[in-house]
């Protein structure tokens, strides 16, 4: 957690994750370069690097963009989310290699600045098929650079999770630009339909996953009609909340996670202070609510991270009436101690 900007330490899982990624990257590059060089003897070393890194970067981007909605739709994918940032940074370095070698090969041999050449050597901005597609790739690379450079928790802390998350959502714009870069670039000259089919399939899967996950979240944000008594709203029956787990309800602007643990019920904000992860989808580990995304922890009765960590989330008043949980949706200031509702006494 954020005592030293290193919430996710170098644990065994992370090392395995990174090792697997690095090995797969090298295997992909080796196979791609070997096969291409075997069947196309005329291809130069620079071209091999440009093609292998370009295809690998777009493959990795698709995987990265699938992890988010998959983790929303099925908890089995949550371990992939845990270290997604490293995958993203590695993807940036591979994309940057593609970009640098492309600029060297196609724009560095003239008598004008290579980056300027990228914008002015082809001026068919009015034509779809002749459009200077490199421009899309260049802008996308700038976005990916911003994301990679700010991926550390130092920036997350200083920019605030809201700004940081918004900045990192620019990956969707980058994805759009990269699809244009490929479609108006190599696809215009590629005789084989394989690349087009692969790209179209990947794009369809990405769109479908994000739309399905987005609609599910949108549906969950609709505030339901609920019984109200004084300031409290009826949330759910105690029995529907599994032990050491939560039921997430929406009564106001933001979701509330109602946890059942040790025959008690407590309610805290559903939004983790780290990356706004869904606390209500986590579980209670060692007496603490544990975020399913990166393991940030909070005490359920006061919303504070255990010492020495300093994160705090809002808490809510709860009570149990006739086996039902009632919540006052007005939040207390973050870290405010609120007494849990006792299940054993009431029932």
């Amino acid at each position: 957690m954020a005592a030293s900007y290193q919430p996710v330490l170098w644990n065994q899982q992370k090392k395995i994750y990174d090792t697997v990624i690095v090995v797969l990257v090298f295997v992909y590059l080796a196979v791609f370069i070997s096969v291409t060089a075997t069947f196309n003897a005329e291809v130069t070393g620079e071209t091999l690097i440009i093609r292998s890194t370009g295809t690998l970067a777009i493959l990795m981007l698709h995987i990265i963009l699938m992890i988010g909605p998959l983790a929303r739709l099925n908890k089995l994918f949550l371990p992939l989310l845990y270290n997604r940032r490293h995958l993203g940074v590695m993807m940036f370095f591979i994309a940057a290699t593609h970009g640098i070698f492309s600029i060297m090969q196609f724009h560095a041999l003239g008598n004008i600045n290579p980056v300027l050449s990228l914008f002015v050597s082809n001026r068919h901005y009015e034509s779809l098929s002749k459009f200077p597609f490199e421009v899309f790739g260049f802008i996308a690379l700038i976005i990916l650079f911003l994301m990679a450079a700010t991926s550390h928790d130092f920036w997350l802390k200083n920019l605030s999770p809201y700004v940081w998350k918004r900045l990192h959502m620019l990956v969707y714009v980058a994805y759009f630009l990269i699809i244009l870069h490929v479609m108006l670039g190599v696809i215009q000259y590629e005789a084989s339909p394989v690349l087009t089919i692969l790209l179209g399939s990947g794009m369809t899967v990405i769109i479908a996953l994000h739309i399905i996950a987005g609609r599910r979240e949108h549906k969950a944000d609709v505030v339901p009609e609920s019984d109200t008594f004084e300031a409290y709203k009826k949330a759910c029956s105690v029995s529907v909340i599994p032990n050491n787990r939560a039921k997430v309800v929406t009564f106001g602007e933001e979701r509330i996670a109602i946890f059942k643990y040790d025959n008690k019920i407590s309610a805290i904000s559903n939004v983790c202070k780290h990356q706004n992860g869904p606390l209500g989808e986590g579980k209670i580990v060692d007496g603490c609510v544990t975020c399913p995304w990166h393991g940030y922890q909070y005490l359920p009765n006061n919303g504070c991270s255990p010492p020495p960590f300093q994160e705090k989330v809002a808490t809510y008043d709860v009570k149990i009436v006739d086996g039902d949980v009632w919540v006052n949706p007005v939040p207390y200031p973050e870290g405010t101690e609120r007494p849990p509702a006792m299940i054993s006494i009431v029932q």
Binding site: E42, L109, G110, N111, L128, S129, K130, Y162, K165, R166, M169, Y172, Y175, F176, I179, L180, M183, L184, I187, Q188, Y189, A191, T196, L199, G200, M203, I207, H210, I211, G214, R215, E217, H218, D221, E253, E254, R255, V271, N276, P278
Partner: protein, 127 residues
């Protein structure tokens, strides 16, 4: 994610769900038509004088090499004169209409940016 970001995600993906397929299909539909026909042999380079009239000559250049320089200017060089005929972009068959000249002549390929010679090919007469 918090609610405003969930909303942002919801909106942007509904926009992308329209735009991405639209550009994808448009990019396929507007692909340039690749001329079919026998490909030029790899690394093949040859040039011939196709026809000679009283005042002009027609020169055909078959160029099968990869161009690895930023510029590739074609210069016709004969004992009496030199003319710049044009530039090469890529592999292909190029036709140049030139003023009348007398063989023997050579086509020189010149990188005008680095001022270096790329290649040269002797012109043959078409009989």
């Amino acid at each position: 994610m918090i609610k405003p970001l969930r909303k942002y995600h919801f909106v942007i993906w509904h926009i992308l769900a329209v735009l991405l397929p639209l550009f994808f299909i448009a990019a396929i539909l507007f692909r340039p038509v690749t001329p079919s026909g026998k490909a030029i042999g790899s690394n093949e380079i040859s040039a011939r004088i196709e026809s000679n009239t009283d005042s002009t000559s027609l020169v055909i250049l078959k160029f099968g090499k990869f161009i690895r320089t930023p510029s590739c200017v074609v210069i016709l060089s004969s004992p009496s004169t030199e003319w710049v005929l044009g530039t090469l972009d890529r592999q292909g068959i190029y036709t140049f209409l030139t003023p009348k000249f007398e063989p023997p002549a050579t086509l020189k390929l010149w990188d005008a940016i680095h001022h270096t010679s790329i290649d040269s090919v002797a012109l043959t007469q078409n009989h």
